[in-house]
Symmetry: C2
Subunit: 371 residues, 2 copies
């Protein structure tokens, strides 16, 4: 307790590097997977440093054999762990001694440029809101995730996928602005195509707030620097019709998990199909290279990392069940966003959007992309 | 116009058979696909007859070469066609001359035991509500669909997938009762496991009405003849944790289409993977039998047919883009439900559920299943 009240000591993990603050304790697989992910990232990226938050006596042994990581990483001892079933409101009141809180705190103090956690999403968002605060003009922050698609980049992006179960028309417009900005910087799309998720593409369909938002998103295309394609359906999420899918956090979360679940089901069925007969076993051997490429295209670990949008600081939520590869993907995403100064650009975009007539889209797009 | 006001002539399609009333005009592929589906069903099932609704001059030529179907089918001329973008309220007021209206009317009059349409879902539900009326005690009818899963039967069922964009706690409880009854009769499960779709499995998560419904579904387990497993997430939809997934029509529709879209994406990627190299092309040949079996397991045409629950009559909504195989699957489903007297059982179940203490679950389960 008390971490929040005194300025933490200057991190030794930096030395000119971009420092990622990592909650080492939150995931389903424990600190070994998280530290494995950090080690993978450290070996690939010489410009990255870490502050690891968690129980020192558990983390020290895991670092002992990882010299490359050890020298670019600082451990910050935190006794408490936020469990997956902890209530966000409880963590907000009583969670100051947790690794999650400590990880967010290092972003707030400026010691780290981004935070990564595999922990409880609701608690992570709650602590982020309390400590980092919302960007000016943002009502509800959102979580954006990437999604395998038929687009040339291989991805679409969807938000909100779980920050808040509600969203009114104003929130949906902000999601469009934030999502478009992330797509410009994160996917390298000068004028991203934005769609609003609904149960049909006709204008009279869906809930009342969607009909209002449909008009608002249409009117703000120029201001927001995006192209509005209108309503899209669940089937369009993996399509090449759209780059940014806007929806409320309840629907987005169900869609995300349904997509993951369906992909998992097919992957398992495919595995069974290849084991079914001797001939199919030979076939699996022959097709191995191609199947590995397929597997990589739809591997959820590759797109691991929900980005919290709308806060004064970059927070990446890794999947709770992420292994080292998944954690490393989330760290890579956090690094890229920190390196590009994305959050500063987003703040400017939102400030500009509040002033009708000011259109900074061309300026931002000309600034180079983070990929 | 005027079909609704005068009793239609006695159908000649019956002669001891179960008669399915088919809207021949509504689908994306036009009447050829629908009549192709009817012909497939007629050749497999000697106990089925049809009343086909649509433009006689278009339907007659399509029947000319299908002698087996022709002799068990009656055409009922209807000039109007409900388009996919028609407003349900407009069809309700002005749609009396349409093939869809006429198809529902044949169920209402008792000439047919079930109706199948590939047309506009909203309009089909609206016309069904107006002409067939809701079952006693039902507030919002629902659409239930089957879903490929890891369950021994190969399927789960979800409702509502698009009858209404809203559902309060009372509606969700009714969906549970209706879904459990359908699963008992349609999937042959004596005590189906029911889950409530949410963004987490913890009891404090989700929208307010879900927390209330969570308690209500738990309390009615014995009365409804189901086992309540609590909250489930999108990833559980294709799992073996649950048989009946209860949700509102907005979320259910998005989940359904997201699942279909994801399966389509992977199927396309898989096809590309097998064409990538000469070796993978050989592999595809060797694995063909196994891959066909896989393809069949996840083929959306196999599970084609959303059933409208909560009406005085059985209506099956086929996918708008269904080909002959898909239409035939929907007809098969309609036939099975009509044969089992499912709708009568559902009405009894809902009437009993209104009387606390009366538990007809054992009686219904002992009555034999339709599969």
């Amino acid at each position: 307790m008390g971490v929040a009240d005194s300025k933490p000591p200057r991190s030794t993990a930096g030395s000119g590097r971009i420092v990622i603050s990592v909650d080492a304790m939150g995931g389903d697989r424990g600190p070994a997977a998280v530290i494995g992910g950090c080690a993978m990232s450290a070996s690939k990226n010489p410009d990255i440093g870490f502050i690891l938050h968690g129980r020192r006596d558990e983390l020290e042994p895991l670092l002992a054999r990882r010299a490359q990581l050890r020298e670019r990483c600082e451990i910050r001892d935190a006794e408490g762990v936020v469990t997956m079933d902890a209530k966000p409101s409880h963590v907000m009141r009583k969670g100051k001694d947790t690794s999650m809180w400590s990880a967010i705190e290092a972003v707030r103090s400026g010691e780290a440029q981004a935070c990564v956690s595999c922990g409880n999403t609701g608690a992570l968002m709650a602590v982020s809101m309390v400590r980092l605060r919302k960007l000016d003009g943002v009502n509800r922050p959102a979580i954006a995730c990437l999604w395998p698609s038929r687009n040339p980049s291989g991805f679409n992006m969807m938000l909100d996928v779980g920050a808040d179960v509600r969203a009114d028309e104003d929130d949906l417009l902000q999601y469009a602005l934030m999502g478009a900005s992330y797509a410009r910087n994160g996917l390298g799309l000068e004028s991203p195509r934005v769609g609003l998720l609904n149960v049909g593409t006709e204008e009279h369909k869906g809930r009342a707030e969607l009909k209002v938002a449909n008009e608002m998103l249409d009117q703000r295309q120029s201001l927001g620097g995006y192209k509005y394609v209108g309503f899209v359906e669940g089937g369009d999420i993996p399509s090449d019709r759209v780059d940014v899918i806007v929806t409320d956090g309840f629907t987005g979360n169900v869609a995300l998990k349904t997509g993951e679940g369906t992909a998992g089901l097919i992957r398992d069925f495919l595995g069974e199909a290849f084991k079914a007969t001797p001939l199919s076993r030979i076939a699996a051997l022959l097709a191995m290279t191609s199947l590995r490429r397929l597997s990589k295209r739809i591997d959820p670990r590759r797109v691991n990392g929900g980005v919290f949008l709308g806060l004064n600081g970059t927070v990446v939520k890794s999947h709770g069940s992420a292994d080292a590869t998944g954690v490393s993907a989330a760290i890579k995403l956090a690094f890229k966003l920190a390196q590009s100064g994305f959050n500063q650009r987003l703040a400017e975009r939102l400030a500009s959007a509040a002033l009708p007539g000011n259109d900074p889209a061309s300026r931002e797009a000309g600034n180079g992309n983070i990929e």
